[in-house]
């Protein structure tokens, strides 16, 4: 895709960013989010992060690009080390450092 078509694709994608991220903000008068519904929506961000993190930790991608459960991978060891590291240090940089150290070590050893 080149030239005009590419910019047209970008233009449509801008509109999609606006629509998807703004939908309920913009429709505030028609679809009111009640306090009780908001109470539960507060749990949405954690759920989204988990769904972003988990596939990178307990799965590996096979040759057909499908995720396969893998409980013996450098990622899993790195991930577990990161969780423990965070619980002890409460620091993001320490968490990354501990996780990456174990991940890298496991890549050489496994």
């Amino acid at each position: 895709m080149i030239g005009f078509d590419l910019w047209l694709a970008f233009f449509g994608l801008i509109i999609i960013t606006f629509i998807s991220r703004g939908l309920f903000l913009l429709m505030g008068d028609k679809f009111h989010i009640s306090e009780s519904i908001h109470e539960f929506l507060r749990y949405a961000p954690t759920a989204a992060l988990i769904a972003i993190i988990l596939p990178e930790i307990i799965f590996t991608k096979n040759t057909a690009h499908f995720y396969e459960l893998n409980v013996w991978s450098p990622q899993l060891f790195g991930g577990i080390a990161a969780v423990i590291g965070f619980l002890f240090t409460k620091s993001m940089l320490a968490t990354i450092f501990i996780g990456m150290t174990i991940f890298t070590a496991a890549r050489f050893l496994l």
Binding site: L25, L49, G99
Partner: protein
């Protein structure tokens, strides 16, 4: 005028500062995402504008094979819409905070939202404030959003400048994932949050191979429903 008010607000800088640590994750992801765009064949010039204009990391990554492969426009747009569907739920969660602003302002607020912005914002303001203190919510949000934007675009520039010198073997993407681990654990504060998180994790495992990264929106729905269910159970026991 309005920019000056925002610029003088402590809440704005508090938000900007709150992005300092997660910025590392964002830069790492941005580099990984944009190296993928560049190596798929998008030029540096187009990659730059793609990020400035569309500003939707996961959706950009999902549509790039379709763009390169000359697929019909509607398939590109539909794919982006589905990958972005989690943001529709996020926009519902943000609605009570920003009701009083104009249509155009709300359009802008939604546009600059991102996964980490959303997590940090709800962590700081779990319950919407109204009245004359309500503005600090917007200022804090804008601080987060600016930090998010800067970190992402910085990653774009690094990817363009050093595309060939950054080997995949560094595990840069994994470092970004680990940063998110440090971001997600403190949000699990009580029993309801724990059950919600476990339900989201289970749903993610079951739906991980769905196309269009639908596993994210499925997990969000499961997490929210689990929270509602837990609330119901707890109130029943209390009675």
């Amino acid at each position: 005028m309005y920019l000056k008010i925002v610029g003088q607000s402590p809440a704005f800088f508090e938000g900007l500062k709150a992005m300092a640590e997660p910025a590392f994750a964002l830069i790492a992801w941005s580099i990984v995402t944009n190296i993928a765009l560049l190596s798929a064949g998008l030029s540096a010039f187009h990659t730059f504008w793609f990020n400035i204009l569309v500003y939707a990391g996961s959706a950009q990554l999902a549509v790039i094979p379709l763009i390169v492969g000359d697929y019909p426009l509607w398939t590109i747009w539909l794919t982006a819409l589905i990958v972005n569907s989690r943001f529709v739920i996020f926009s519902a969660a943000l609605q009570p905070y920003f009701k009083k602003y104009s249509f155009v302002q709300k359009l802008g607020i939604g546009y600059v939202n991102g996964d980490i912005v959303f997590v940090k914002f709800l962590d700081r303001f779990p319950i919407p404030k109204h009245g004359n203190k309500a503005e600090i919510q917007l200022f804090y949000f804008l601080g987060l959003a600016l930090g998010n934007w800067l970190a992402w675009q910085f990653g774009v520039l690094l990817a363009i400048a050093f595309e060939t010198q950054i080997p995949g073997s560094w595990g840069l993407g994994f470092a970004g994932t680990l940063a998110l681990v440090a971001l997600v654990i403190p949000t699990i504060k009580n029993k309801t949050a724990l059950v919600s998180a476990l339900m989201a994790a289970l749903t993610c495992v079951l739906t991980v191979n769905l196309p269009y990264r639908l596993t994210i929106v499925c997990s969000v729905i499961a997490g929210v429903l689990a929270a509602a269910w837990m609330d119901h159970v707890i109130s029943k026991v209390a009675r």
